[in-house]
Symmetry: C2
Subunit: 335 residues, 2 copies
Amino acid sequence: MPPHARRTTLATIAREAGVSVATVSKVVNDRSDVAPGTRARVLELLHEHDYLAPVFRHTETAENPTIEVQFNNDLKTYSAEALEGIIDAAAELGASVVISKSAPAPHWARDLVSAGRRALIAVTSMYTAAHVKELTRAGLPLVVLDPLHLPHNRVHSVGATNFAGGLAATEHLLHLGHRRVGYLGGPAMAVCNQARMHGYRAALEAAEAPTPAAYVRHGEFTHRTGLLGAAALLDLDEPPTAFFAGNDEIALGIIEAARSRGLRVPEDLSVVGFDDTLLARMVSPPLTTVRQPLREMGGIALRTALRLANGERVESHHIELATELVVRSSTGPPR
Amino acid sequence: MPPHARRTTLATIAREAGVSVATVSKVVNDRSDVAPGTRARVLELLHEHDYLAPVFRHTETAENPTIEVQFNNDLKTYSAEALEGIIDAAAELGASVVISKSAPAPHWARDLVSAGRRALIAVTSMYTAAHVKELTRAGLPLVVLDPLHLPHNRVHSVGATNFAGGLAATEHLLHLGHRRVGYLGGPAMAVCNQARMHGYRAALEAAEAPTPAAYVRHGEFTHRTGLLGAAALLDLDEPPTAFFAGNDEIALGIIEAARSRGLRVPEDLSVVGFDDTLLARMVSPPLTTVRQPLREMGGIALRTALRLANGERVESHHIELATELVVRSSTGPPR
DNA sequence: CTGAAAGCGCTTACAG
DNA sequence: CTGAAAGCGCTTACAG
């Protein structure tokens, strides 16, 4: 929504409601001496006209706009790196970043507008169509970073080339000589997870390496999913000799499962992660993984949010940045 | 600074400057038609009276106060966890959290006040006495989380029992039978690093295990410091059989140095970290480390900041939370 | 450059 | 309950 040329004032509301400005003022300030019916009518009009108290009006045109960034779960290394990209871009463009965990309540979008937020960036958001509708009604632009759902043309989003990343990761394992490769991923419904998994499948099919259904498992993007999934697959009669993990955390869970049964990485088992968070660089052996340009993605999300806040058009409602395979020491030829 | 009973208005400034309200208004709005001398005199008075434009006044008493959180470096797992504690406490208390990287410029503190910030939380801050003075002048309360300098009685801070943590970590290694224990820490000047190192020294002295000067090295709280430091110490004629690291990142660097020369952890080398970030839990072998209650520390910092913002007294200007040794799998008896 | 005057958007004590 | 009136803090077109 472009900034209003001029905000509705109490006088307008008073005229339409057929009451005095004083009465409208009382409603706005929640005074008790107003008849319930009058109050209801005035509230209705205030809502309809999107009335904003003078103290908040400056937020609409402030040269220092504030953008809300919401996370729906823990601030993992993944989100922390995206957040850094957001903060750096905001500093450069003179915007402020408010950070919170999302917990949409009634009037949630409207409250954000009243508090002066000019746009919302949701990291791996679970927003439903109803939430998006409330945002639209409140006039608060939304940008989703790494969307869990398929791109919706009323929602702007920034992601990475997950399919290509999954393909590259799996081809790397294939080139090393692996034929039995497992996939341990995040939520089955998350589009990023699906794309990575399909990249994996595509590589295996192209190499004519058949994959038993049991080789593919979905869970959460957590260490635990890797630990449990790997334990299960390594118990198979024909266990995988390599794993492609849906993210770095899962990869570390797999490595721990291997260690706990005396398997060495990469001598006995190869593992490729996804994300290239700082985890991947700091772990022993350093993790081969698919880099997502998280900082850049955060920066683009912030820029997009700011442009939408200013009422500018944004060409494409979904942008995907390139992933890149980073080969380190957790992969090698099979035994 | 307690919230002002009533803010200075243009009328006061006009009276004192001996000009009309209209002229003062022009100065405030940066209009060109004001004589330079008049402008200077009025600006001086505005500054002296701490004039705040009406659009910003609500921030002084807002039921949704906003707190600025500044980091002076990367958003590592360490800071991300403290930030989570801050965010959770803010959500509970109805405060907003603005996050930025610190880059104090001229008028920096005053600008934060104008932008509506009610307090500042600095994570491992490098603020100098001059910065603190500007904050005091601007009336913006400061809380430092994990201070790098010694507690200053005009600065509120939240830390952990670093000395006790260093002691516990080193005693653990001693109990396992190690006699040659190295310390690889962060910046030599950082008080948290000094306290950890002195805890280590105290444990070794109590056990009458002499420590060659070469066994202690300071650097940065990074993977690289661990990698390089361990490489150097492991080249000694009598290398340590165990390391106490100033934080988890350094510990992981040490483990990587060990791996790259074919040493196994914990069979050939024991390593204890500090912080207990998610890194420690996700790495193989899981890291024995000293837990800092980072979330709790963040929560306390936020609460303290909010109380100071409300002009309340805070009993103690430095709070230290207890650390706790968490034994996992990166430590064992020496060969 | 300066400021008296008109005006804006809002609030509040008070008369009805 | 309601609103006319006074008032507050500020801005601005305009006369000097």
